[in-house]
C-alpha cells in the first residue's frame, strides 16, 4: 500500500526517470508518461491515485492527464494486486491449444476467479488479450516473464514454485 508521505522513487530510479525524459525534445516530457508509469508500478505494484499524482508532479502534468492514460492501457493496475499477477491470454489461438481448461485449472487451484486476489495476498489472476506468443500457447505472463506451452501439470509446478 502507499501513502503520500512515502511516495518517492529511490535515487537510482529517479536517475532513470531523468534519462528517459532526455529521449524526447525539450518540452515533450509527457512522452515519458508510459515508461514512468511502468517504473512506478514496478516500485509500488499498482498505480494508486497518490502514485499517479506523484508521476504527474515529476512530469509537470495535471493529474488527470495521468489518470486518463493509466486507465486506458490494460497493463496498469488501478486496484491493489497480489505479489504475483498472473495474466493469462484468453484469445482464440491460446484457446485452440487448450487454454480454457488450463486457465480453469489455474483458477480452481488458487480458489479465485478472474480479477480476484488470494486471501494471503500472493496471487492475482487477470485475463488479458493476445500476448503475441500464439504458437507457444497457452500462455500467461507474470511481470515481464512469459510462461508458455502451459499444461495443467506445468501450472501446478509454477504455482508451487512461486508459493515457496
Amino acid at each position: 500500500m502507499t501513502n503520500t508521505q512515502t511516495i518517492q522513487f529511490p535515487a537510482d530510479t529517479l536517475d532513470k526517470v531523468h534519462e528517459i525524459i532526455k529521449r524526447y525534445p525539450e518540452g515533450k516530457q509527457k512522452s515519458a508518461l508510459l515508461p514512468i508509469l511502468h517504473l512506478a508500478q514496478a516500485e509500488w505494484k499498482w498505480c494508486s491515485p497518490e502514485v499517479m499524482d506523484y508521476v504527474a508532479g515529476l512530469l509537470k502534468l495535471s493529474p488527470v492527464e495521468v489518470y486518463e492514460v493509466a486507465s486506458f492501457y490494460t497493463m496498469f493496475h488501478l486496484e491493489p494486486v497480489g505479489n504475483h499477477v498472473i495474466e493469462y491470454c484468453r484469445t482464440g489461438p491460446c484457446c485452440l491449444m487448450g487454454g480454457v481448461e488450463v486457465y480453469d485449472h489455474l483458477k480452481a487451484k488458487l480458489g479465485i476467479e478472474t480479477g480476484e486476489t488470494t486471501a494471503d495476498g500472493k496471487f492475482t489472476v487477470k485475463e488479458v488479450e493476445c500476448l503475441a506468443a500464439c504458437g507457444w500457447g497457452p500462455v500467461f505472463q507474470i511481470r515481464e516473464k512469459f510462461y508458455m506451452n502451459l499444461t495443467t501439470q506445468k501450472v501446478d509446478e509454477i504455482i508451487e514454485e512461486l508459493s515457496k
Binding site: R23, P25, K28, K30, S31, A32, L33, L34, P35, L37, H38, L59, L61, E65, E68, V69, F72, Y73, T74, M75, F76, R90, T91, G92, P93, C95, L96, M97, V128, E129, C130, L131, A132, A133, C134, G135, W136, G137, Q141, R143, E144, K145, F146
Partner: protein
C-alpha cells in the same frame, strides 16, 4: 531463401560480435559511406517491399510521401506493437536477433533523414525491450549509433519506448498519440503522419519486419529482392503459425509458396497434428476472413492458393481472404467456430478505443450476441443481427479497427452459418463440453 532469419539460430547472434561475423552491419557501412539517402530510398522502391504489419502498402512509396520542410526534424518510428491475434513474428525476430532490427533502423533512418528514431514496443514485451536496449548500447559502443556514425557525419539516436497494453496502438496514428504520452486514440486523416506525425513533425511509421528487410535490400539491391516472390508479392515473409499443426512457430518463406505445401510439408508446418483433418484457417491474423479448408487450399476457380497478397485475396471476401500480418491460425475438425469467433469478438470489444460510436457500440453488441449463441441462449434472428451490426461498423470508423472487428464475424457466418444455427437450435447440446463433436452431417465434415 531466408533473408531475415538465416542466422537466427546461431549461438550468440544477439551479441554484436557474432552478428557482425555473420555479415551484420555491412548495410550500415555501405549505405552511410557509399550511398546517398535518396539512393537507399530508390533501392527500397525498386524492391517492391510491401509493409509487413498487415496493410501491405509499398514501403518505398510511403517513404517518398515524407515531407521535408527545412529546419523541421523528421522521425522514423518502428511499430513493434505486435498485438494482432495469431501474430508473433516480430516478437520472435527481436527476441532472437535484435541487431537485425537495429541495423535496419539505422539504414532506414539515414534514408529518411531522421536523427532520432523510436522503437515503440508493446509493454507486455518488456523483456524484449531489455534485449533491444542492450543491443543498442552495443551498437553505440562500436560507433554504429550516436554522433558521426562510422565517420560519415550522420548522427542517430535510437530509443525504445514501452507501450501499456492496447491493440489499437498498432494503428500508426494511435501509436503516435501513445508515444506522445496520451491515450491511444487514432487521429483523423488527413493530415497523414508523413506530413504531421510525431509532435506534428513529418514521420514514417513502419513495421519491424519491413524495417529489418531494408538491410538486405541495401546490400543486395532492390532488383535482387524483387526477384524473390511472384508479381507484386516480392521478397520473403515471416509467417506466425499457431493452432493445430504439428510444428507451430515462425517461418520465413519466399512469397509464392503454395498454401498446401506450407501446411502439409515437413519442411514447414508438417501437417495437422494427431491425425486430424484441416477444417479452417485464419491466414493473416484475427482480422482477416476465416476460410474453410477447401477455400484456403484452392481458390473458387480451382487454382492452387499461394502465399501471396494477390492469391490469398483472390475471390474478394466471397471466397478469399488476406495475407494481412501473416498470423496463420490453423484449426482442425474438432474446432468450434462459434467459440473461436466469440474470442475474436470479445477481443475487438475489449480493444476498441471507444472514439467512434459504430465500433464502440457495435463491437459490444457483437460480443454479447456471440456470447449468448455460444452459451445456448441464441435466438433465430441473432445470425442476421450479427451480419447487420458488422455491416454498420464496416467503413464507418476513423481507423481500421472497426473493419477488423466486423470481418471475422461476417466471414465466420458466411462460411460456417450451419454451426451458428446448430448452436441456436440445440442450446442444451451447445453448452456441453466438447459440443462440436456431437454434430453429425455438418457441411464441413470431410
Amino acid at each position: 531463401m531466408k533473408i531475415l532469419t538465416e542466422h537466427i539460430d546461431v549461438q550468440g547472434i544477439e551479441t554484436i560480435d557474432v552478428f557482425r561475423k555473420h555479415g551484420g552491419y555491412t548495410a550500415v557501412e555501405k549505405a552511410l559511406k557509399k550511398m546517398t539517402p535518396d539512393e537507399v530510398t530508390e533501392e527500397v522502391k525498386k524492391s517492391g517491399l510491401r509493409g509487413r504489419g498487415g496493410a501491405g502498402f509499398p514501403m518505398g512509396m510511403k517513404w517518398s510521401f515524407l515531407a521535408k520542410p527545412e529546419g523541421v526534424p523528421r522521425y522514423l518510428v518502428c511499430n513493434a506493437d505486435e498485438s494482432e491475434p495469431g501474430t508473433f513474428k516480430d516478437h520472435y525476430l527481436m527476441m532472437k536477433s535484435p541487431h537485425t532490427l537495429i541495423e535496419g533502423m539505422i539504414v532506414s533512418s539515414y534514408a529518411l533523414g531522421a536523427n532520432t528514431s523510436y522503437i515503440y514496443i508493446r509493454g507486455e514485451l518488456m523483456y524484449v525491450a531489455t534485449i533491444l536496449e542492450k543491443a543498442i548500447q552495443e551498437a553505440k559502443d562500436k560507433g554504429l549509433l550516436g554522433k558521426n556514425i562510422l565517420g560519415s557525419g550522420y548522427d542517430l539516436e535510437l530509443h525504445v519506448q514501452l507501450g501499456g497494453g492496447a491493440y489499437i496502438c498498432g494503428e500508426e496514428t494511435a501509436l503516435l498519440e501513445s508515444l506522445e504520452g496520451k491515450r491511444g486514440n487514432p487521429r483523423n486523416k488527413p493530415p497523414f503522419p508523413a506530413v504531421k506525425g510525431l509532435w506534428q513533425c513529418p514521420t514514417v511509421v513502419n513495421n519491424v519486419e519491413s524495417i529489418a528487410a531494408t538491410s538486405w535490400i541495401v546490400n543486395n539491391g532492390g532488383d535482387e529482392y524483387a526477384k524473390i516472390g511472384i508479381g507484386r508479392s516480392t521478397g520473403t515473409k515471416l509467417i506466425s503459425v499457431s493452432g493445430h499443426v504439428r510444428k507451430p512457430g515462425v517461418y520465413e518463406l519466399p512469397l509464392g509458396l503454395s498454401v498446401e505445401d506450407f501446411i502439409y510439408s515437413d519442411d514447414w508446418c508438417g501437417g495437422i497434428r494427431d491425425g486430424h483433418k484441416l477444417k479452417a484457417v485464419v491466414a493473416g491474423g484475427s482480422s482477416v476472413p476465416i476460410l474453410p479448408a477447401e477455400l484456403i487450399l484452392k481458390t473458387a476457380n480451382g487454382e492452387n492458393r499461394l502465399m501471396t497478397y494477390e492469391s490469398l485475396s483472390d475471390g474478394g471476401f466471397v471466397s478469399g481472404t488476406m495475407l494481412g500480418s501473416g498470423g496463420f491460425v490453423v484449426m482442425d475438425e474438432r474446432t468450434c467456430i462459434v467459440h473461436n469467433t466469440l474470442t475474436f469478438g470479445r477481443f475487438y470489444h475489449h480493444e476498441s478505443c471507444g472514439q467512434c460510436s459504430p465500433c464502440r457500440e457495435g463491437t459490444g453488441w457483437m460480443d454479447k450476441v456471440l456470447y449468448r449463441i455460444e452459451h445456448g441462449k441464441g435466438r433465430q434472428e441473432d445470425i442476421d443481427l450479427l451480419v447487420d451490426v458488422a455491416k454498420k461498423i464496416e467503413g464507418n470508423t476513423i481507423c481500421p479497427l472497426g473493419d477488423a472487428a466486423a470481418w471475422p464475424v461476417a466471414a465466420a457466418i458466411r462460411h460456417f452459418r450451419d454451426e451458428f444455427e446448430w448452436h441456436i437450435n440445440h442450446p442444451e447440446k451447445a453448452t456441453q463440453k466438447g459440443a462440436v463433436f456431437m454434430r453429425e452431417g455438418a457441411s464441413w465434415s470431410m
